[in-house]
Amino acid sequence: MTALTSGDQRRKTRRTRPRRSPAGLAPWEERPSPAGRLGKGTLLTLIVLIVLGPLYTIVLTSLSSSETVNRVGGLVLVPDGITFEAYRQIFSDTVVSRAVLVSTLVTLAGTAVSTAVSVLGAYSLSRTGSFLHRPLLFSILLMFVFFPGIIPVYLMVSGLGLKDTYWSLILPTAVSAFNVVVLRSFFMNVPGEILDSARIDGAGEFRILFRIVLPMSKAVTAVVAMFYAVGYWNAWFNAMLYIDDTRKWPLALILRQYVVDSNPLPSATAGVTGDAPPTLAIKMAIVVIAVIPALILYPFVQRHFTKGVIVGAIKG
């Protein structure tokens, strides 16, 4: 047994998985017992239900008429007619549709800024031995272990006059050290011969980055962009700190105010979300709108991230 578990041997042997039989089991594997299979199946079903169940009833409630919701007395579990009434009401009201617009624009602009800055920065840090390489790298790595604190950052943002501007939702969190380091480690894997030959042909650093390195790192760059996008869309704290003007609220603040705390929306001009307490269908429709971007971006992130970034990181 000790020989089996020794690390050396593990590293030396090839990591090819033997061809599995059609059932997916290796020939030497014992068939699972019926009881074991039943237990595992139940457990997996339960896990899937715990994740998807809430989403199912939330989507269903947002698509139900107010009569159905009143009759059930809460979240709807069994479909009884589908109506888009709640969504129509939301988008006929300026408060929520404006928040959706704000969140969308902040997400797009923030992702563009963050990705551009991170790609340029990561490439500049990928060349060991260049001018000031070590201190510049150190200043990024230090971000992993120390956080300056909420209050000094707040004072900086308000001192720059960024309060109540959309920039306050973008600039303070524009650089993620994690994303920069992920990009950098991928850029460093581009074979040096290619870069050297480009240099001999007279290509400058910008041309090398945009013509050679970036096209070879498309997947990881896209994943990093997606991570930034999800982060901007989900961000709540920055908005709570810096945006006092309710007309500039992103969706996350609306979600808190209206769905979690059940308070009427601020400065609502007219319509359903004015002074009336929020109806459940409308609340759930706002939740669904907040989930949708994550659902759209998610399959992409999953496909590339799990394969590339994490496995690469742990093997490295």
């Binding site: 594997e29 997996l44 500049s124 604190g149 209050i151 650093e205 705390d261």
Partner: protein, 329 residues
């Protein structure tokens, strides 16, 4: 996750990457600058952002040693009071409560959250059908991409006073409990939220470690007569050990960080007694009551103790023969 990748980044610094020519003798800095100025230009936007929103605020922590007043004095004009703010912190019952809450949340989650991604990874790894496994993986990763506002909203609809569970209990003639405002069960609530949101994503790193275990070991053990559970005990778990130890140490080094939005969002519902943690204390004592120097002192205390804990954790990792967050170069 971040740290694991960071480690990779740092390790590369010393040795020259494979395939690259051995470095020529060091150039004088002028020649280097002439060669590398485009790289510096590329670095500039990032450097500017990091300087303005990281370095300068880090230095701005001097207000922790001042009786800071933004209107009369600012940083340069406010009187310096030394360590008074820090001394006051330790006489502040609310600060000590935040410290205690933070540590007990960390301890509770070490026991009840930390093993969940490992067990989930083992379960996912044991699914024979590749398609089923991809499906379950896709489902359990999903909540990681939701914001905390969303997760709290969803939990409220499930476990709140008007939520689904209360609704079902009432329909069956029982008394409903509002879990979302119950401070006695708050630890349980936040741990379930963390499991729901993060456990699936947390399993990835263990799945990656599992994929590096040589399958021939399993075959050899099976031939030697080791059955399923024995193989897990003698091959799988030793294979996971380095990752488990590393993440455990990192979590201990990060003991003062229990998340922020999750607590901010639920503080008003549960009350500050149960939900006050370090970061919420900084926010309320500094920004809400306006004593910025005092709040900054609490924040700086947390930052410095956190830094020390991470460095110590890394030492421990090295002492145990693991690679740690970064290696000494």
């Amino acid at each position: 996750m971040g740290v694991v990748t960071a480690k990779r980044g740092v390790d590369r610094r010393g040795a020259s990457p494979p395939g690259r020519a051995t470095p020529p003798p060091p150039l004088p800095w002028r020649a280097k600058l002439r060669r590398d100025w485009p790289l510096l230009v590329m670095n500039l936007p990032m450097l500017a952002l990091v300087t303005v929103f990281w370095w300068l605020p880090a230095l701005g922590n001097v207000i922790a040693f001042q009786d800071y007043n933004p209107f009369t004095g600012g940083i340069l004009g406010s009187p310096v009071i030394g360590f008074t703010n820090f001394a006051l912190l330790f006489q502040d019952a609310q600060f000590l409560r935040a410290l205690l809450n933070t540590l007990s949340i960390t301890a509770f989650q070490l026991v009840f959250y930390f093993p969940v991604p490992i067990m989930l990874a083992l379960l996912l790894n044991s699914i024979v059908s590749a398609r089923l496994r991809a499906f379950v993986q896709g489902v359990v990763y999903l909540p990681f991409f939701f914001s905390w506002v969303l997760v709290v909203a969803i939990f409220q609809q499930m476990f709140g006073g008007a939520g689904l569970v209360a609704q079902i209990l009432r329909d069956n003639g029982r008394e409903a409990i509002d879990w979302m405002t119950n401070s006695d069960t708050f630890l349980l609530l936040i741990t379930s939220q963390t499991i729901w949101k993060d456990a699936g994503w947390g399993a990835i790193i263990f799945l990656a470690a599992l994929s590096t275990i040589d399958p021939n070991l399993y075959e050899a053990a099976a031939v030697d007569g080791a059955r399923r559970w024995r193989r897990m005990w003698h091959i799988t778990l030793p294979g996971l050990r380095p990752v488990i130890v590393l993440l455990l140490i990192l979590r201990l080094g990060d003991a003062l960080n229990v998340g922020f939005e999750q607590f901010m969002l639920q503080r008003s519902a549960v009350g500050s007694e149960a939900s006050e943690v370090f970061d919420t204390f900084v926010y309320w004592s500094g920004l809400r009551t306006g004593d910025l120097g005092y709040g900054a002192a609490a924040g700086l205390f947390k930052g410095l103790v956190g830094l020390l804990l991470i460095l110590a954790a890394n030492r421990v990792a090295h002492a145990l023969g693991e690679r740690g967050v970064y290696s000494r170069s």
